[in-house]
């Protein structure tokens, strides 16, 4: 081969390698130390290899060829080491980035993050924990988690932590702990980290300061207690006042009746009087007295019914419930049977489908459906044959009963008002009542954990939907 060509290529090669070494030197600070030295080693190997070759070609030192051969073997090895080092650096950067990402999340958490050993000693505490408890992470390491816990919550905390040794290896609890701001309430969720053999290696806990929430809960509890007391007082007041009003009312009605009888006797006496002038003089007064008595008696009767209704309503709150399986089909049939005359008179018909049994108080459920069916019959539309249907179905642990009629219906704006006490849709209408029936239904259902809602359109009919716990929920 042309020696000039070889010489040219070799010179070029030398120039490039020299340039490479300068280049490496320039960028030294941007290259990892180990990579830098490997690169330098590779370039040096190639340089030395060619120096040996030149000596060999020139015939100056033929034995140099052996050194060159040895260096040549090292070249690919150095290339391999270089790539291995680069891969390792890449992995290290990846791990560092990943760690930095998670550390950023943990360091900026407002929730408390801790890691304990299986004995409950600190292995890690997030900055939020250290800030709140006024300790450094170094101070906490190896220390038990329990000393900051309120003495009254210590036993509970221990008990909960003991649960961690059994599946599902997690626990949730609340505790008070002493922070640098005083005693605070915390909610903790602990989970055990298990190794491949299923042995506990660490416990990870996430905590949240719930002091504000606990204070609100306490306030709510107190308010609820106050509300219950006031409600009881109000019920007692209604009951006592209704009860006490009864006795003067009994007198009014009783003596009113006696006065009426006396008036009738007096009238008979007047009718037998022989002086017509005197009779004519007395008669207008008699008429006035009779009219006044009529108003007094009818007013007293109305007041009696109202007080009875109020007493009934106030008794609902205090009545003891006897929960049992209520066979609704039989119950509704017995109610309809007792209303037979009323239904016949209205010209309507009541159809009862198979109804699922519910778990409730028999007497109260009877009251609910008596009131609903009574209303349905009373408010049938006289212009068409009245049909009332009672249907029922069970879903999600509740029974839904529907009392559907094709009566006069209710205006949408009155839907929310009809459950109010003494509210009547048409007080001057032909149907008499006090406006207590649906209020009683609503009160009973509140007590029975049930609910009622209404779907209705004027001139098309109404549908009352009553929900009660299903019989299948017994013992659940």
């Amino acid at each position: 081969m042309n020696p000039i060509l070889i010489l040219t290529l070799t010179s070029l090669f030398f120039v490039l390698l020299s340039f490479g070494i300068i280049l490496l030197w320039k960028y030294q600070r941007y290259i990892y130390n180990d990579v830098f030295f490997i690169l330098l080693g590779i370039l040096a190997l190639f340089l030395l290899d060619h120096v040996c070759n030149i000596f060999e070609w020139s015939g100056l030192l033929t034995e140099m060829d052996e050194y060159g051969d040895f260096l040549q073997i090292l070249e690919p090895l150095f290339l391999g080491i270089l790539v291995y080092a680069l891969i390792q650096h890449r992995l290290r950067i990846h791990i560092l980035n990943s760690e930095a990402k998670y550390r950023l999340l943990v360091d900026n958490q407002t929730d408390l993050v801790i890691k304990l050993d299986p004995e409950g000693n600190f292995l890690f505490a997030s900055p939020s924990y250290c800030r709140l408890f006024g300790h450094t992470e170094k101070e906490l390491m190896g220390r038990s988690f329990l000393p900051d816990v309120h003495p009254e919550d210590l036993e509970k905390t221990r008990r909960e932590m003991e649960k961690l040794s059994l599946p599902p290896y997690s626990c949730l609890f609340r505790q008070r702990a002493h922070t640098k701001y005083g005693w605070r309430h915390f909610s903790w969720a602990f989970r055990v980290i298990l190794d491949e053999a299923g042995k506990s290696t660490a416990i990870v806990g996430m905590g949240r300061d719930i002091t504000d929430r606990v204070e609100i809960e306490h306030k709510q509890e107190n308010l609820l207690k106050k509300l219950e007391t006031k409600n009881r007082e109000l019920q007692n007041l209604v009951y006592i006042s209704s009860h006490d009003l009864q006795s003067p009312l009994v007198n009014i009605r009783g003596f009113g009746g006696e006065l009426k009888n006396s008036c009738q006797q007096l009238k008979q006496v007047i009718d037998t009087l022989e002086q017509p002038a005197l009779r004519e003089q007395i008669e207008p007064y008699m008429k006035d007295i009779q009219q006044a008595l009529y108003f007094i008696n009818s007013g007293a009767d109305k007041m009696h019914v109202l007080i009875e209704g109020l007493l009934k309503l106030s008794r609902i709150g205090s009545v003891e419930l006897t929960l049992q399986t209520v066979h609704m089909s039989a119950l509704i049939r017995s109610i309809v049977e007792s209303m037979r005359f009323q239904v016949q008179k209205s010209g309507g018909e009541i159809q009862i489908e198979d109804l699922p049994p519910c778990r409730s108080d028999l007497y109260q459920v009877n009251q609910i459906f008596s009131n609903l069916l009574d209303n349905a019959v009373k408010y049938l539309d006289s212009s068409r044959p009245g049909i009332i249907r009672v249907t029922g179905m069970e879903a999600n642990g509740f029974c839904e009963y529907r009392v559907i009629d094709n009566g006069i219906g209710i205006e949408p704006e009155s839907h929310s008002k009809i459950f109010e006490i003494f509210h009547r849709l048409d007080p001057e209408g032909p149907v008499k009542g006090l406006g207590l029936g649906l209020a009683i239904v609503q009160r009973i259902l509140d007590k029975l954990n049930g609910s009622i809602r209404l779907i209705s359109e004027p001139a098309r009919g109404s549908e009352f939907i009553v929900t009660l716990p299903a019989a299948s929920t017994a013992g659940a």
């Binding site: 081969m1 070029l12 490039l16 490479g20 280049l23 690169l39 073997i73 090895l77």
Partner: protein, 91 residues
């Protein structure tokens, strides 16, 4: 006639090539991986030509060997420059 050390170096280079192939996923994530692979292929070619020159067309193979090593050097230096330059721009 081939030399023993040349065959050993070729075998080592092939071994390194297998190492590259088995770590290709990691290598593909390295900066300037194309230049690095190109330079390695040139080096592998150099070793093949070195062994072949002992059997056939000595002059041609020798020239190809020197050209390969020259190309290897160029690609390798370009790769060095690229990683250094990129690190300087985005430390």
């Amino acid at each position: 006639m081939f030399q023993k050390n040349e065959v050993i170096t070729l075998l080592i280079t092939v071994g390194i090539g297998i190492f590259f192939w088995s770590n290709r996923k990691s290598i593909l994530q390295l900066n300037g991986w194309k230049l690095l692979i190109l330079s390695f292929l040139c080096y592998l070619a150099r070793m093949i030509f070195t062994v072949l020159e002992g059997y056939i067309w000595y002059d041609v193979m020798n020239l190809l060997e020197h050209l390969s090593i020259l190309l290897f050097t160029i690609f390798f230096l370009l790769w060095c420059w690229q990683i250094g330059y990129q690190k300087e721009k985005n430390p």
